[in-house]
């Protein structure tokens, strides 16, 4: 079984990136803390049965954390996702800009949630943790090429969806104006 010192070292080395990664899935820091704890408990249980491979611990923790998040999402399909408003950076002080930014991020969140777990993982690691593709590939047990393809695909999907969402908003506003003019000048 893993000893206290080793466990403490592993925790210090990986807890932050894991916590951010889990937050990317749950968007709730309290829940993310619980899942972080669960991931480390699974690591301890694993060490009771098998010897730990130091080169594989990071991948084990990411895989475990992702599985915990997936299980949680399956159990609670309708998650109360809090946008972590208090933790988000302000858009620059202008309330109008902040509002637009929040709306944009809400749209991005819903778009990201619709993608597969691996793409979400790559996206979160790249954007939130600024990890190089090589590290992402090692942590997720995939090839670097796959990691790049997943990231490009995700961004392409986001750009496409956001442009379409912008066009839909424009059309909606235009139709609303036409309806108002029709009512006034009838």
């Amino acid at each position: 079984m893993i000893d206290n010192k080793t466990l403490s070292d592993i925790y210090d080395r990986h807890h932050h990136e894991l916590f951010v990664y889990i937050c990317g899935f749950t968007r709730m820091p309290e829940v993310a803390e619980d899942f972080l704890h669960d991931a480390f408990v699974r690591l301890i249980r694993y060490s009771q049965k098998y010897p730990l491979d130091p080169t594989n611990i990071r991948a084990f923790l990411y895989r475990t954390a992702r599985n915990i998040c997936i299980d949680h999402a399956r159990r609670n399909k309708k998650l109360n996702i809090s946008p972590l408003e208090e933790n988000l950076k302000s858009g620059g002080g202008d309330p109008q800009t902040d509002l637009e930014l929040r709306e944009l991020r809400g749209t991005v969140d819903s778009l990201v949630d619709a993608r597969d777990q691996l793409s979400r993982s790559v996206y979160l690691m790249r954007t939130e943790l600024d990890m190089p593709y090589q590290e992402i590939a090692g942590a997720l047990n995939i090839s670097e090429r796959t990691a790049k393809r997943k990231m490009s695909s995700m961004l392409e999907y986001l750009a496409d969806s956001l442009e379409k969402a912008g066009f839909k908003l424009f059309m909606l506003i235009l139709l609303s104006l036409l309806a108002i003019l029709f009512v006034i000048y009838r």
Binding site: L36, K89, D130, L155
Partner: protein, 390 residues
């Protein structure tokens, strides 16, 4: 670049996966084109990091370490002791050892609790035994097993039947003294050898048509060797009476060694000599009812029964049967009996050589005993000599 950047190229540019030669051109276009720069900015803002500034509380680490301690305690509590602790490390050895132990326990149980070996000695089964019939100084009861060496005494007006298998039977009518001198089996395929002595009284022998028993009867005055037959045999006052119903028997006179064959429907009276005559129809009615025979209904047809005389020598057969297996000649020094009559090769003749007390026989016995004594003394002398230190 005159046209705008496609959202695909823009996504690759942001993701950092665009080829190096396109990267510069895209950067130049972004510097020139306001619309594309706006799209780029919007995308960058959309995917900007939002959680990286978050930190897990210190309590989370404490929880993890506490959980580790708790799991360690549970593991210590669950750690098996003794042989069970070997199971995770040597599962095959533990399994093999367990199987061997189980096999040993089963084998020991089988050995300890196996049923007793069934008696393989042949026996006659008693049936229809009247009260007062005694075997070896104790009452004989129905279905009791009668083994070799048994002596049966029947008081007046009693009867008992001895059976072997399904067919063979001997009905004893009292007063009678009857001993089973030899009853042995030489194998499943061989008939059982039975030799009995009727010292006094009546018996009715019925082979039942089976050949499972090779039997012979001795009386003080004769020896009867039947082969598959039914007849009455009576011994009284030194005389022997044989009344034949079916089959035939060979009767050998004890003193003169005269041999006569008694056929069906005949009777033979052995006194000073063996007389064979035709049996009357009344004689043959004897076989109709054993009860009537027992109750004295055929006094005219048979000899007058005499009261039981005490015989203290019941263990000794009337005529010592010669052991077939140990049949050897020229072994007088070892105390074995040498046939004193020439053998004609058949079974009956061989048996004849050991039947009937005679003066020649008793002299022979004395000689044998003398030789035995001499041999014993010689052996003792040899042993004494060996023990004496040089």
């Amino acid at each position: 670049m005159k046209s705008h950047i496609s959202h695909k190229a823009l996504a690759r540019y942001i993701a950092g996966t665009v080829k190096e030669r396109h990267r510069g051109r895209i950067a130049e276009h972004l510097a020139e084109c306001g619309r594309c720069r706006s799209r780029h900015g919007k995308m960058i803002a959309a995917i900007a990091p939002r959680y990286s500034m978050l930190r897990a509380s210190e309590a989370a680490k404490v929880r993890v370490l506490r959980s580790r301690d708790r799991l360690a305690e549970d593991e210590t509590a669950r750690t098996p002791s003794g042989l069970r602790s070997l199971l995770p490390q040597h599962p095959r050895a533990v399994l093999a050892g367990s199987l061997a132990l189980a096999a040993a326990v089963v084998a020991a149980a089988v050995l300890l609790f196996r049923p007793p070996v069934e008696e393989v000695r042949p026996y006659l089964a008693a049936a229809n035994v009247d009260g007062g019939v005694v075997i070896n100084d104790r009452p004989l009861i129905d279905r009791e097993r009668v083994f070799e060496g048994s002596a049966i005494t029947l008081p007046e007006k009693t009867s008992a039947r001895l059976e072997y298998g399904r067919g063979f039977s001997i009905t004893l009518i009292g007063p009678a003294l009857f001993t089973v001198d030899r009853l042995m089996s030489r194998g499943d395929s061989e008939p059982v050898e039975l030799e009995c002595s009727l010292r006094q009284g009546i018996l009715v022998s019925d082979s039942g048509g089976t050949r499972t028993v090779a039997y012979a009867y001795n009386t003080p005055g004769a020896r009867i060797e039947p082969t598959g037959t039914e007849f009455l045999l009576q011994s009284a006052g030194g005389a022997t009476l044989v009344v034949m119903k079916t089959g035939s028997v060979t009767v050998k006179h004890g003193a003169s060694a005269e041999r006569v064959t008694v056929a069906a429907g005949s009777r033979c009276m052995v006194k000073e000599k063996a007389d064979v005559s035709k049996a009357s129809p009344e004689d043959l009615k004897i076989f109709d009812s054993m009860d009537n025979l027992r109750d004295g209904a055929f006094e005219r047809q048979i000899l007058k029964p005499e009261p039981l005389v005490k015989d203290n020598n019941l263990k000794q057969p009337l005529r010592t049967p010669r052991p077939v297996v140990r049949e050897r000649t020229g072994d007088n020094a070892m105390g074995r009996i040498q046939p004193d009559a020439p053998s004609d090769g058949n079974r009956t003749a061989r048996r004849d050589t050991v039947t009937g007390p005679s003066k020649t026989g008793s002299r022979e016995q004395e000689r044998i005993n003398k030789n035995k004594k001499l041999l014993r003394e010689a052996r003792q002398a040899i042993r004494q000599k060996r023990r004496t230190p040089k």
